[in-house]
Symmetry: C2
Subunit: 331 residues, 2 copies
């Protein structure tokens, strides 16, 4: 009897392993969720967003298609979005209450459960590369502020003058937000708020998952506020045993609900599909607590979900045998 | 048929509510895990540790016994340990590579899933009070570095000169560690390493859970390293729907495994007892990854566990109808 069990287990694990390796290589990305109802953008603006999402997807997919790792794929996609002023990450970062740009990012390798994260960087051009360097070249997971920057320097990562992060659009949004805050004597988020965080999840030919997230945080953030993007388990999580998640939204809620980990825990322990787990977490738990935002989720079996409770989410997917698909609004 | 279901559900929810309220009020604390085998401390030192653990437990329990909240109880217990030079938190914080003290803490309310956390504070006397102020008096969950300190000032919290955190014992340990690192040209943790983080979890008369953790971090930490103590889901988690956890150990592993959330997820989704969940996470997942440390866990039903894979963990529990129990070593 025991022998039969043993053989059965062995067969199952081989089948399981083969299934993972046979899963279609896939990359899913987001460029932030928020009050992006149809009509918010001109056709030209929509086209520009979609073109940049497509570029990021194609670059990331080409890494997977060439036999590269999920980690390299998400880094390629995220770096593309960081370098664009269209998204609130890297080049397009929003301004803090003090009129500065403070960048957060994190990355996780589903194969090893290794992770890296940084918060409060001000001069590193690509925060996702710094998070990866923390993961691979230090014994630590997370560095904050000036220390993170010193580490970036020691790693020879590209640093830029602070003025690199200045874009007129974000600066004007900062000035408007400052005025609104002074008028209302409070710092509530405006109704048209858009969480412009970027992120990616991928599954490579070896059946390995990875996830990464990068952001400029919240306009007018104060007191060195840390959101969910650099928090492993909140904004980012990846484990080959369950799934990979990158989140965007009102970060405080995502931290309290450990959104990324909770979705993968429901897959791991409750046997849910990634879509069912994401639905429960975004449309019930997050919604019930009063938070908003979205997630991209990719299972080890190649199943994926792009789930949000906001009017829209910049998002896209490219998987083996299918063409690139990008979208902004709900439908 | 539907009506019967409805009545049944109603009865079950009333029974469930009553059960929670009938659970014995309980507080569980830890003062760090590590290479604390019998013989490491003199009898006098052991007595001093046990006396301080007992004092913290009794103070926290008295809050619960007087009808106070789980949050107030854990804050009282943690503050007591922060004010003692015996533990690596507050007064007894270890030194960073630069010879400074940088303090991290977090707190979570299981009833509301509200949370507060700070990292890299240098002048606030009681980091746990600052974490609580972030939770209750800001719209945010986590503040880092100088910003956290500015917020502390704006809240009128007690600030102390940096010299307050200087204790000869930690300074000498820092000097020894520095010398060892120079000799070995690496910064591996010494074999006798002790993670002196402190933490508490409690269940109050209303059936509400809370968890909190406070630490000075890792001796010789660099680059603004953030450990698991201020990370919701890693070092601290509380949710009335499952359990409350405070962790201590090699923080990087605790972040990667989202230890506190994983234990509560196993309770919530896999129907495990807190002891079984803690065993799986500490003795299998953490152990397999090569990490060490421990947790205290308290379920909404009053079940608790104190689980570690190190030689010892400073720990204790006081529950209704039972006397205070404190321990250091494995048995």
């Amino acid at each position: 009897m025991c022998k039969i069990f043993y053989i059965l287990t062995l067969v199952m694990s081989i089948v399981g392993g083969a299934a993972a390796q046979d899963s279609p290589i896939t990359i899913v990305i987001h460029g932030g969720a928020g009050a992006m109802a149809p009509g918010r953008y001109t056709q030209e603006q929509e086209a520009a967003f979609k073109a940049k999402l497509t570029e990021a997807l194609e670059l990331g997919y080409s890494v997977l298609d060439g036999g590269g790792t999920a980690l390299d794929a998400i880094q390629a996609a995220i770096t593309t979005m960081e370098d664009s002023p269209l998204f609130n990450a890297g080049k397009g970062a929003v301004f803090t209450a003090e009129g500065k740009n403070e960048l957060d990012a994190s990355i996780m390798d589903g194969a090893t459960k290794n992770a890296g994260a940084i918060t409060g960087a001000t001069r590193v051009k690509n925060p996702i590369k710094l998070a990866r360097a923390v993961m691979e070249n230090s014994k630590h997971v997370m560095f904050a502020g000036a220390g993170a920057e010193s580490f970036a320097k020691s790693q020879g990562l590209e640093l830029v003058p602070r003025s690199y992060f200045h874009t007129d659009e974000r600066w004007n949004a900062y000035k408007r937000a400052l005025k609104a805050e002074e008028a209302e004597k409070e710092s509530a988020l405006p109704h048209d708020y858009k969480y412009g965080t970027v992120g990616a999840v991928a599954l490579d030919r070896n059946g390995n998952l990875a996830a990464g997230t990068s952001t400029g945080g919240m306009t007018l953030k104060r007191f060195g506020r840390v959101g969910d993007a650099p928090i492993i388990g909140a904004g980012t999580f990846a484990d080959n045993a369950s799934c990979a998640v990158s989140a965007t939204g009102h970060g405080e809620y995502f931290i309290r609900l450990t959104i990324a980990r909770d979705i993968c825990a429901q897959v791991e322990y409750a046997g849910k599909t990634v879509a069912d787990a994401a639905n429960d977490v975004i449309h019930h738990r997050l919604q019930d607590l009063g938070g908003d935002g979205g997630v991209i989720v990719l299972g080890a079996d190649g199943d994926y979900a792009m789930t949000f409770n906001t009017a829209g989410m910049f998002r896209g997917v490219k998987r083996e045998g299918e063409s690139v698909s990008v979208a902004i609004y709900e439908n």
